[in-house]
């Protein structure tokens, strides 16, 4: 177990059970202690009225600048619709080889697609997205292995098809990165 820790900072309302489950799963996969913190930012500063979405680039910058100093890696967890200027939406993003990433649950829930509410599947998708963004911060790029958590996902169906885990190649890379950390 690495003695440095990963922090998940939540912005907006999330159930404790939901946050603790993410933390447990991330700790198990990455062998890190995972801490949960509550963050407070005025999201109206990041709102784009024209697109009616929140600017993911600006949010990532703020997480990196203000929330990542005391932990090995930090993920900001949101429940608002994120965009970056060139894309219609994003589930999350991170700095490759950086210290911070962001994830939003907004487009991960079934009800967003007029399907029956399923909290378990929302939790699963969020865990995968958090681990995926943490993988980027650790230097991993997208992987073509269908079940690898580092596979690029642009739709929730893509998220559902992959697992929480890294494929053997990405796992090997992660272990070598962590050994040098």
């Amino acid at each position: 177990m690495n003695n440095q820790h990963i922090t998940i900072v939540s912005f907006g309302h999330f159930e404790n059970y939901f946050l603790n489950s993410i933390a447990t799963e991330v700790a198990q996969i990455l062998h890190f202690t995972v801490k949960i913190k509550e963050g407070h930012i005025d999201l109206s500063d990041f709102y784009d009225p024209f697109r009616r979405q929140y600017d993911g680039n600006k949010l990532l910058k703020i997480i990196d600048a203000e929330y990542s100093s005391d932990s090995y890696r930090t993920i900001g967890l949101f429940n608002v619709d994120l965009f970056i200027p060139i894309l219609t939406y994003i589930f999350g993003q991170a700095y490759l080889n950086g210290t911070a990433g962001i994830v939003s649950v907004y487009r991960l829930s079934n009800e967003r697609y007029n399907l029956a509410i399923d909290d378990d599947i929302l939790l699963e998708r969020t865990i995968k997205e958090v681990i995926h963004e943490l993988g980027h911060t650790l230097g991993l790029i997208h992987c073509h292995t269908p079940t690898c958590v580092m596979r690029s996902s642009t739709y929730v169906e893509d998220l559902d098809q992959k697992s929480f885990n890294f494929c053997s190649i990405c796992r090997e890379k992660i272990e070598s990165i962590l050994a040098d950390a």
């Binding site: 680039n57 894309l87 993003q93 690029s152």
Partner: protein, 447 residues
């Protein structure tokens, strides 16, 4: 992904550059950004990128202008243009100017991945095409022209220097010396190499057939012309036309050919539309065209139009030193094509080949080797495997004894060492033949 695809992002908005940078870097691409068209062009002058993703609306030089400049700098670069305000006009203009695709910001994440994946496939195809072109060029180059002799080296030097020009070439030489190979080598080393080399064997066609073959014909031009058909000149557009046995064409065709060579245009048989074609002409003949001009059987003006450069391919007997490497080349060629292990040639057989006059030149030698590989024992080519007529053996063998020995040996082989039949053919009795065999120490398995 076998090769890391490189992407240059050009956009005046920092947030767009950052977003694209982060997106592509996570996908494993090599990414760089430029904030203006000017900066992008300066980067592209020193570094090459597979894909350029550029905004159309930028202060200073816009994306469309930059697209034109990039294409003039390196035509193969794939440029994808993006804009926040799509209009049909700009999209059409961008595609006309050579853009790979046109996208409107913001894109769906999946669309962007697909777009770049398709562009990457295009990059791979262009590279693969380039490699294959190089391979084809090597295959059709001078590799099949074998010869270390000074005479052949001289021919190859001429091929190299004439290939780069657009001049007409006449290749002269006896039948079987490899004139068509020389024409192929000229074409393969020229800037026309990626376009067709169209060969026409003028001697094999009647006047009317040759006319239809060269100029093409319209449907119904004559009985049997059921369809419109392109002529060889039309097929050779941007490439080379090789007219073999040019000396055999009729006076009427000579006039027609001269006109086509002067105007680079012609009318199909039965047609009325003038067709233009940009071709280079290479001719070959085993006749002395100059003498034919003097005799009035070949037009002087056509001769001078064709004879800008003359390459003479020497007969094999004038480059006997090339025979061992030619033999080796044909052994490899036929053993490989027949899936047989490589055979060797007996030194005595090789010596005999070097002495042979080869009236049929390389073609004859090639046929001999092919035949020897087919009928031989699969390990070694002996003299008995070669159909060599003693009368055509080089007259440099002056000794009567040597000639007698060779002739007797040849006849013995011809009759499979049947002494009675060989003696009868030689018009000597069997005892005399036995004495001669003893005298010259001839042995069935000797050579």
């Amino acid at each position: 992904m076998t090769k890391k695809i490189s992407i240059l992002v050009v956009d005046d908005e920092e947030s767009v550059r950052d977003s694209l940078y982060n997106w592509f870097i996570e996908d494993g691409y090599r990414v760089e950004c430029a904030e203006s068209a000017k900066m992008a062009l300066s980067i592209l002058e020193s570094e090459s990128f597979d894909i350029v993703l550029a905004d159309i609306k930028m202060p200073g030089m816009d994306g469309l202008e930059m697209l034109k400049r990039i294409k003039s700098l390196k035509k193969e670069t794939i440029v994808i243009v993006m804009t926040a305000f799509a209009t049909v006009d700009t999209a059409v203009q961008a595609l006309k100017d050579g853009a790979f695709d046109y996208v409107t910001k913001p894109f769906d994440p999946d669309d962007l991945s697909h777009l770049v994946r398709n562009a990457s496939k295009q990059v791979a195809l262009v590279e693969e095409n380039e490699v294959l072109k190089q391979k084809v060029a090597t295959l059709e180059s001078v590799e099949d022209i074998v010869g270390a002799s000074e005479a052949m080296q001289n021919v190859l030097r001429q091929v190299e220097s004439v290939a780069q020009s657009n001049s007409s070439v006449i290749i002269t030489g006896e039948s079987g010396t490899g004139k068509e190979l020389i024409a192929r080598a000229i074409h393969a080393n020229s800037s026309r190499k990626y376009f067709p080399l169209v060969s026409v064997h003028c001697g094999a066609l009647t006047e009317s057939l040759l006319e239809s073959e060269l100029f093409g014909h319209e449907k119904g031009a004559f009985t049997g012309a059921l369809y419109n058909r392109k002529g060889r000149f039309e097929m050779a557009d941007s490439g080379t036309i090789f007219l073999d046995e040019i000396a055999t064409i009729s006076p009427k065709m000579q006039v027609e050919l001269l006109r086509v060579l002067e105007t680079k245009s012609f009318i199909r048989v039965g047609g009325n539309k003038e067709i233009k074609s940009d071709f280079r002409v290479i001719c070959a003949t085993n006749k002395d065209l100059k003498s034919m001009v003097e005799a009035g059987s070949f037009r002087e003006d056509l001769f001078y139009r064709l004879n800008v450069v003359n390459i003479h391919v020497p007969p094999l007997r004038d480059r006997a030193g090339d025979i061992p490497i030619l033999v080796d080349f044909f052994i490899k060629k036929y053993c490989t094509s027949m899936n047989k292990p490589l055979v060797t040639i007996d030194p005595a057989a090789l010596k005999r080949l070097e002495e042979f006059k080869f009236p049929g030149n390389i073609r004859e030698l090639e046929n001999m080797i092919e035949r020897a590989i087919v009928i031989g024992n699969g390990k070694r080519i002996f003299l008995r495997d070669l159909p060599i007529e003693s009368s055509l053996i080089d007259s440099s063998i002056e000794s009567l004894d040597e000639n007698e020995k060779n002739h007797i040996y040849l006849i013995l082989n011809k009759y499979s060492w049947n002494i009675s039949r060989a003696a009868k053919a030689l018009n000597i009795d069997r005892v005399t033949l036995y004495n001669k065999i003893k005298k010259y120490n001839l042995n069935k398995n000797d050579k």
